[in-house]
Structure formats: C-alpha cells, structure tokens
Subunit: 458 residues, 2 copies
C-alpha cells in the first residue's frame, strides 16, 4: 500500500470535532462516513462524550482502542497543534485538516502552520490541508466534504481524477459534475498544501488505475523544480489538464489572501505547462469539457478533422474555432466526394464543414460519418447535431453511438431546450460527449490532438 | 406604419405552400399561424385545394378575396419567381421566402436570386430571405419558423431583439432562450438578405419600443458604408451586441457555401464594430450573457467593480478575468473597511475580492453589498454566490433582489446541481442574471462598462 492510499481507502476513521448539532460541519462530515462501508470503523471524537446518533464518542483520539488510518480534523485553528500531536502519537497514517485560520490569514496563521509542519516532521503521518475540503472517492465512499448532500450532490463512479487547490472551485464543480452525470475516480481539495501538495497528488493519480485523465485547479506551486519533474513524467502516463487561478496581477494578490500561495508569473506558468505536456485551459468549463473528451474518446492519430453539420451557421462558427486552435480541416478528396455526393442535397455542401442541411436524416448522418471515418483522410469528427430539425429521429443516438467502432474520436455539439437536451443526454450515455457551443467542442478536440502530439514528441 | 411592420404585425397572412402533410414544413408554418390571433386572417395557398384542417385552400394568392400584408413562401426554388410575381401583382407588403436553393448554392442559384430582385424592383413589396426562417414575435405571435414547437420551444415576452443571418444559430438559440426563461421582443432570421438585410433590421429594432437591447449574429455585410452609418446611429439609441461568424479564412469559405455572403477580413470587421459602438463577442453564449445583463441591469457610471464572494477560488478566477477585460478592482477605502470589518471573519478578506468565506449568511451578503453599493467607491457588483454552503438560506434571493434599489448593475455567478440551480432561477426571476462561470459574469459586466464608455464618448 502506498502512503497516500490511507486518504482514499482507510480501514478506520476518526472524526475529530464530530458534532451533535446537525447544522455543524463536524456533524455533516461524521454522517458522510456513517455506515456507508460496513468494514470501515468510524470513531467520533469530541470533549462532550454524549453519543452522536447512538455512536459512542471518544474524548480524545488517544482513547480509541484501535489503530486509526485516517483522521479528519474540524476544530478551531488554535487547538489543531495539540490534536495533531495526538495524531502523531497515535501513529495515524493520514490526517485531513479541514479547519481554516492558517497561512491564508496572514503572519499569525503562517506561524501556526509552520508549527504543524514541525509536529509531523520525521513521523509517518501525512497531512492534507489545512483549510481544505479533503477527499471524496466515489469507489471507497470516503467523503470529508462538509457540504450537505441535499445541497451539493456527489458525482457517480468514473475515471476523471480531480485535484483542486480551492474548495469552492472544487465543490461547486463536483456538484455540477453530478448534475451532468459525469463520473470521477477521486476528488481532492488540498488548499494550503502544508504537506501533501499538487506534486504528490499528480504523482499519485498518475499511478491510480481508476484514473484515466487528471484535472487540476491550481493557484500556485511551492516547489517549481519538483512540479516540472513530476508533471513531465506523469503526463507521459495520462493526460493532465490544468486551470491556473491568479494569472493576473490582482488575481495573484487574491490568491495570497485565499490559500497563501505565490501565484507567480503567468508567462512562466504557461511555459512550464507547455514544456511538461500539461494541457492548459482558461475556464473550469473548458477544464471539464476536455476531461470528458479524454474520459470517453480514443486519441486521434493526427490533426485532420472533419466537421459534419445540419446547421450551416454552427458549422461556420466551429470552423472559426478550428483555425484558432490549429486544427486542420482538409476538403474531402474527389474520391470521398464521389462516395457521399449523392446523399447530400444540392443546397448542402461537400466542403469541410460538410453541410447535411436542415432536412437531414439519421441515415444521412450515418452514411457521411461512416465514409469519413472509414477513409484515411480524417483523424476525428466534430458532429454538429441540432436535433430540432423535423426530419431527425431519435435513432440518431444509436447511429452515432455505433460509430465508436471506428476507434476515432467523435465529439458532438448541440444546444437547445428539453427535447434537444434529452437526446444529448442519451448520446452521452452511449459515451459520446455533447457540448453546447462550437467553441467548446473544438477546444475539447484540440486538447486530444495536443496531447497526442505531446506523446509522439516525447 | 413603417414598412417592415408588416413582417411583425400583419392583419392578413398567406401561407404559400401550406401543406396537408403534418411532416412538411408548409404544414408546421401554417399551424403556427392558425387561430393564434383572432383578428388576423390566415389563408393557405396550394395547387391542391383540399381543405387543410378544415380551412379553405386557395389555388393562388391572386384568388384570395382580401388584401395580404404578409406572405410566407415555402415551395421549390424554381417556382419561387412566378409566385413572387403574383405577390407583387397582389401588392403584398411583406414576403418571407423560406425556400432554399439560391445564392448559397453557387452560380445557378445566384442567377435565380437576382431574378427575384428584379421582380420586386420598384414595387412596394419587401422580401426577407430567401433561405431563411423568417420571423418570430412573441407579442404578435407571428411565427414563420418551420421547426415544430414540441422540438423547438419559443421564448417568452421580453426586451431582447435578435437578428440572425443563420437559421440554425438563430433557432437553436431560440430554443435555448426558451429553456432559460429569457424573453425576447423579436427574432428575425434573414439569411441571404436579398432585400431586407442587417442594416434595415438594426435600424428597425433601434426604433422598436419593445426592444431594449439588440443582438446580431452576422456572417457578412453587403453594404459596408451603410452598415457603419446605421450601426453608429443605432448604437447611440440602444446597445447592440454582435457575434461574427466566418472570422477565419476557412470559416469565410464556409460562409460562402452557407449564405453566399462575403465574410471579409476579421480585422476590418472588428475595427468597424469598435468604431461604431457595437459590442463584439466570441461565442453565442457570450452574446446572450451580455444581452441578459443589458436586458435587466442599469448602466454603470464607470468601471470600478467590487467582487464579493463566498468562495475564494471563484474570486481569484473572476479577478483574472476582470484584469483581462479591463475592469478596475479598487480596494475598499479605509472608511469602508471600517464599516464592514466587524461583519467578516478573520479568515475572510477585506481586499477586493471581498471574501465572505464559506460560512457566509444572507445577512453578511446584505450588509457588505449594501455598504459597497451605498459608497461612492464602486459602479457595479459581481456577487459570487455559491449556494451550497450550509449557512446560506434561501432568503438570499430576496436579499440580493432588494439591492436593485441602489440602481447599480448587479450580476451573480453561481454553478452546481439542482439545489443551486433552483435558487439561481429564483434570483433571475427577481431580475438578477446568474452566470455559471467567472469568465462569463465578468464579460457581461465588461460589456455594460464598454457600452457606457461609448455613450459618454459619442
């Protein structure tokens, strides 16, 4: 077992600061663990030893008659050093410090955090946080998020690993992913990163079998040299997509009062990401758009993309973004045109985008897409599928889903109301992601191409 | 009555190509008009005079015993010239040609379109299209969209005017707006623009009392000089937000086979938009994000923005985008800090972003936002309201809605699942738009600031 495993699959957990009051964070976290895995023992710790939900409460972690793999600490900052000492004495393997009030608050807090560092020095105890949400693992049901489940849903099982330096960015997106039915392998919010930091976590997820793609929201890096080394190695194993907060000067100042990290120069960061094969995005939407593409699609062999569309204007917008993102849109060869010409009406277009027009049928999508995928002319397809046209039946879902057999990336773009969204969801259940705007679908395809290039170069 | 009024509020309508078969476009369009306004007469025209849905069918428009304000033509391209001649003879005021097969298909089609132009020369008949969707007006219920309502919803009454050169971009967004409960004043898809074009429509909406903000999706401009003149004048009356398709070289080629327009140089277009006070956006999401802001908010006096947030990471991301968009984020003055300090916990932040932290209450939002709005230090607020935090009650909707009394723009940012979306919707019903990402909320605020600057300059 690797040391960080204890954060994600502990046999025994102590909740230090487990509360009797349902509105308290310590109550939410305790109930997250309660009875979700029968083999796991959960011990509430609180100076008030009145039972919580019928469970015996311990005055101190030292009194628990069992080894503890994971302790979650949610108590006022000033008491944390004493409690962390107890954890070290107890030889706890992993500690998540949820409590805030450390380096993010200024000089006093910084001193307190350094004190914590000294406490664990030389011990076997690893610490996540402080000032963090900790871990959510849908496979092992570890869940130290203090946000109640009726307010913040948890995503389903999946293969996207998600590391966030920010709890708010982390948890908000977790809720959004759950709503969008996107699955994850692990979520980690490590915030101040006094011990376990982005380098440890990238390294860990790079070797995690359940994780196919790693997403990172980063505000600053503590050890630049190690970050470069770790990222370079990890990005050869699987794609790593990154969003950097604090890119602007005022943003960097905001980072300082948020996690206490040094945001550093934007240009340096972008250069480092490029050099180490990390895929940089500009918003959290883009971060997870790209993640969905990697999560579900094979890598393209090259950058030759074909756009098929039933809406000319959407085709035009996608074309604009392909050029911006450096994707090639070669015209179909005369041979390919000959094959598809008779299936496209005269008012359509045989160029690239191939315009199937607003009276498209599922059959037309099928023939054109199959011919393009079978040909050696294209490495991937962007299919714009505006489902509102009256001639399109719901068998379009099976038609496009079936294209996966060609083992080339297929990404769809569609938008609209109820009717359209229902078909999009069905398509996503078949493993074809659907994006709302041309900009977003193109960026996701470009990420696949960029990563393939990186792998070929390195 | 201005001439274009007949497109939007006709007393009598002929549907030429009204069909007996429910799957046909001509049937959908006919039923859109049927019985929705009792004072309006609707006449189906078809060589097969079997009644449609009990309505008498006319062999030709010339046989209708009534004046016709609006004719909608949905018949094969080659028959259109003859029918348009009939319309001119009948002195029809406004004609929407839905049929495709004209300049968008190449040389032959171009000739046919020129023929149409000659037919209406010197007459009082104005033509929209060909190859277009035509008009949807939620106030007068004119609806020539051939997309069935169970597939494509229609938006509610509102004050956003929407001109689209593309039917697919137009209709897809119409469906999306309906889903998002965003109201519009008028929607027009004019596509090939052989007669009525973007200039006529911008001019018309600039004087339309129900339209507060104009949105335009444009692929190319036919008369550049007039466009500049019209835009300059119109943008002094109300904000005009624009998305240009075919900005790239390959995109321009795609435009040619879509609407037959010349896409022109990107740089020239962007320069023209700037010079005429048009607000340019990069995606259709941005287009309507900005429109929602103008639709609901007063203009800011200047560019001094304050961000209040309950999530540090979201605050950092918003800060980055403010700098990119040229918005100022001044620190609160010592005087203002003194007023708000005691309401923010020590682990929060009194800089800008003001970090209210994850244990924020509605009361805290109320006090801080009110102090900021009352002060003379800020021209607008970006409120990041991550509703998942356990301490926040649903009265946050009333608290923020109530801030409108200060007459400064307030835009919110929130994301997540069910719970969070429900509160966002409630807030939007109070007239405060909520955006999913920091990038989007900042762009919308920047558009307000940009337009205010344009008004002050010109």
């Amino acid at each position: 077992m690797r040391q960080l495993d204890y954060f994600f699959n502990p046999k025994s957990v102590a909740i230090i600061g487990a509360s009797h009051k349902p509105e308290k964070l310590g109550y939410v976290i305790f109930t997250n663990f309660l009875g979700n895995i029968s083999e796991r023992k959960v011990y509430p710790v609180n100076p008030d030893t009145t039972p919580i939900l019928g469970q015996k409460v311990y005055r101190s972690i030292l009194q628990i008659p069992d080894d503890i793999d994971l302790a979650v600490i949610i108590i006022p900052a000033k008491v944390v050093p004493k409690i962390l000492k107890d954890c070290v004495t107890k030889e706890v393997k992993a500690v998540i410090i949820v409590s805030g009030g450390f380096s993010e608050t200024g000089e006093e807090g910084k001193k307190l955090e350094i004190k914590l560092k000294h406490i664990i020095e030389g011990s076997q105890t690893r610490v996540m946080g402080p000032n963090c949400l900790g871990v959510f693992d849908p496979y092992t049901k570890v869940d130290s998020l203090f946000l109640p489940r009726d307010r913040l849903k948890r995503p389903r099982l999946g293969n996207i690993g998600y590391i966030s330096q920010s709890g708010s960015v982390g948890s908000t997106i977790i809720d959004w992913l759950a709503e969008e039915h996107v699955g994850i392998s692990k979520f980690i919010s490590y915030e101040n990163g006094m011990d376990v930091n982005e380098c440890d976590l990238i390294e860990y997820l790079a070797d995690d079998k359940r994780t196919k793609v790693i997403t990172v929201f980063l505000e600053g890096v503590i050890d630049g040299k190690r970050f470069i080394k770790v990222s370079k190695k990890a990005s050869k194993k699987k794609p790593i997509i990154i969003l950097k907060g604090g890119r602007s000067i005022t943003g960097a100042r905001a980072v300082a009062s948020h996690t206490g990290a040094l945001a550093g120069s934007t240009k340096i960061y972008s250069a480092v990401f490029k050099q180490t094969g990390l895929i940089e995005t500009r918003s959290w939407e883009e971060l997870f758009d790209c993640a969905e593409a990697f999560s579900t699609q094979p890598l393209p062999k090259g950058d030759r993309i074909v756009i098929v569309t039933d809406g000319g204007g959407f085709g035009v917008l996608a074309t604009d973004w392909c050029e911006r993102q450096g994707l090639q849109l070669p015209e179909p060869s005369e041979e390919l045109k000959k094959k598809i010409r008779k299936h496209i009406p005269a008012y359509g277009s045989l160029h690239n985008p191939i315009d199937l027009t607003g009276d498209v049928t599922s059959e037309r999508y099928k023939i054109i897409m199959e011919e393009c995928l079978k040909s050696k002319e294209y490495d991937g397809i962007i299919a714009i599928t505006l489902f509102q046209v009256p001639t399109l039946n719901s068998d379009i879902v099976d038609v496009i889903g079936d294209m996966k057999k060609f083992n080339k990336p297929i990404l769809c773009c569609s938008a609209g109301g109820d009717f359209s969204q229902k078909i999009s969801k069905a398509l996503e259940r078949k493993g074809i992601p659907v994006f709302e705007t041309p900009q977003r679908v193109v960026k996701a395809m470009a990420a696949l191409v960029e990563y393939k290039r990186w792998l070929s170069k390195s």
